[in-house]
């Protein structure tokens, strides 16, 4: 079965979350309404279904270079609830891009929910770029709910960059990310989030730096509009000579509410940990500046937010 057999809504969701217009290059697994809509393994990347629970194991051979894996999920049936377990085994010295993401279109009156639990085992010296986009659409009263759980285990001198994006349409999210880093490992997290209406988004990180010279940089940029609520709770634990930085930079609009809970725990005298958090409305002078270019106030706001979340 190929991607092209999906209906227009499914294809649109796929474009939103994975920039996919047709069958992707490289390895992929496309899940649509809890069923496999397409899969391809390659010589170096093997995708196999789990037998005990719903989900897949992705095995990336050591030394795999410049390959990609796409594992998008789309839901268009109202009332569908699923929990999926995907485990990634990334071999030593591999260099890969992994694109995940979930799009929900709910036109019905029952809640649709996808809870994706991702575990990453990143081998020594491996390099991983992980992109995860969430998107919701549909005019039904049923909620679109996504609760991603991510667990990252990083071996010596491995590198992982995680880009997490949720810009539109997801009513309720509780994201939990934990990571444990061995010596020389480096984790970069870039989260971008925008909530509207009555949406609620909670994002919790616990990053543990266990090895010497491990480092983590966790940065969230978010915009809370209308009556939405966000909580960003990021904790970095330093158990060795290491460096960690966490930052929450947020814009609130209308009646939006944001709670930032930065946390640092240093259990080693040579752990250098920093946190920053800033929440505020759009600076009036930014709007005025763009209005002097001929933009309306609303256009100015849009440009400022687009830039901020880019």
């Amino acid at each position: 079965m190929g991607v092209l057999q999906m209906d227009e809504i499914q294809k649109r969701l796929l474009r939103e979350i994975a920039d996919l217009h047709s069958v992707p290059e490289g390895a992929y697994n496309i899940r649509s309404n809890s069923e496999a809509a397409g899969r391809r393994s390659t010589a170096n990347i093997d995708i196999v279904s789990k037998t005990d629970v719903s989900g897949i194991d992705i095995h990336i051979k050591p030394g795999t270079k410049k390959e990609s894996v796409h594992i998008p999920v789309v839901l268009t049936k109202t009332g569908l609830k699923e929990t999926v377990y995907n485990d990634f085994y990334i071999g030593e010295n591999a260099d890969v891009v992994i694109v995940a993401g979930c799009g929900i279109d709910n036109c019905g009156n029952q809640d649709s929910e996808h809870d994706g639990i991702h575990r990453f085992y990143v081998g020594k010296n491996a390099w991983v770029k992980y992109v995860e986009k969430h998107y919701g659409s549909g005019s039904g009263t049923g909620k679109r709910i996504l609760n991603p759980g991510t667990e990252v285990h990083m071996e010596e001198n491995s590198f992982m960059e995680m880009e997490m994006v949720q810009i539109k349409g997801v009513d309720d999210t509780e994201r939990t990310t934990t990571a444990a880093l061995k010596s020389g490992a480096k984790l970069i997290v870039r989260e971008r989030l925008m909530t509207h209406a009555e949406q609620r988004a909670i994002s919790t990180y616990v990053v543990t730096l266990d090895g010497e010279n491990a480092s983590a940089d966790v940065v969230s940029r978010s915009v809370a509009r209308d009556d939405s609520f966000q909580k960003f709770d990021a904790k970095i634990v330093g158990n060795a000579p290491c460096s960690g930085h966490t930052e929450c930079d947020s814009i609130i609009m209308d009646n939006g509410k944001i709670l930032a809970v930065p946390g640092l725990e240093a259990n080693c005298v040579d752990a250098a940990l920093v946190h920053e958090a800033a929440i505020g409305k759009i600076a009036g002078e930014q709007i005025v500046k763009l209005m002097t270019f001929g933009l309306t106030e609303q256009e100015a706001e849009e440009q400022i937010i687009n830039g901020f979340l880019k």
Partner: protein, 247 residues
């Protein structure tokens, strides 16, 4: 042509009104290079902000080419052809120099166009084109980018509020060259500059002296400038800055 007729502007300070601008009449004719000078705190910047629409006058009317624009918004005035360079440039997280110049010009500028605007203000384009207009840029860099955005506007009336402030490493000669080119390239355009730098006053067609919120003197440069030399209204640039050349 821009006309200010009997413009006053009051602010409320601890319950009592303080007059920042009082009954100012001023005309900026087409094709003219006008410099507004005067002592600090005299109301010069307020006047510029009133023209751009950032502040609304307490009384009086403002006309552009005969049309009353007193009630027009910042946006409307911008679309009618008023550009404004802030004294303190605004910073934006995530908006790149390229994005800002494109927004200023209102069209999809080519990379070559962007390079031209940046080069005009003495910035090496390739180093700046993808930079964000944020706190990672120095005050002087932000100021030059601010001036570049006004160049990209190609407006009928360009207002600069103390363009030389913060441009410590860049020669005045280059700044003056920017103004000369603007006059040559934008047909019938006028330039209004708030400045008390002698070098900028020297290239003005007309000079207006604002003092205590009122027009103290106004007229052709040759009539006004001699009386200002050596006063707070015509400060000589420091010697290092006068040497010229690219910093």
């Amino acid at each position: 042509m821009l006309e200010l007729k009997n413009i006053s502007f009051n602010v409320d300070v601890e319950g009592s009104g303080t007059e920042i601008i009082r009954s100012v009449d001023l005309t900026i004719p087409d094709k003219q290079f006008v410099v507004i000078t005067g002592p600090n705190g005299g109301g010069k910047s307020t006047l510029a902000r009133l023209i751009a629409g950032i502040e609304k006058p307490t009384s009086g009317r403002i006309f552009m080419n005969g049309e009353d624009i007193t009630e027009k918004s910042i946006t409307e005035r911008a679309r009618m052809g008023i550009a404004f360079a802030f004294q303190q440039p605004v910073k934006f997280k995530g908006i790149r120099v390229t994005d800002l110049l494109r927004l200023a010009s209102g069209k999809k500028l080519s990379v070559a166009d962007i390079c031209e605007y940046l080069s005009a203000v003495g910035l090496c384009a390739k180093d700046y084109i993808d930079r964000e207009v944020n706190a990672s840029l120095s005050g002087g860099e932000l100021k030059r980018i601010e001036i570049a955005t006004v160049l990209a506007r190609k407006a009928a009336l360009s207002v600069f509020d103390e363009p030389e402030a913060g441009i410590d490493l860049w020669s005045f000669q280059n700044l003056i060259e920017v103004f000369r080119r603007m006059r040559a390239e934008i047909k019938d355009s006028s330039i209004l500059i708030i400045s008390h730098q002698e070098r900028i006053l020297e290239i003005a067609d007309e000079i207006v002296v604002i003092k205590d919120g009122s027009v103290d003197r106004a007229g052709k440069r040759e009539d006004i400038l001699p009386g200002l030399i050596g006063t707070q209204s015509a400060v000589a640039a420091c010697r290092a800055a006068q040497k010229g050349g690219n910093a």
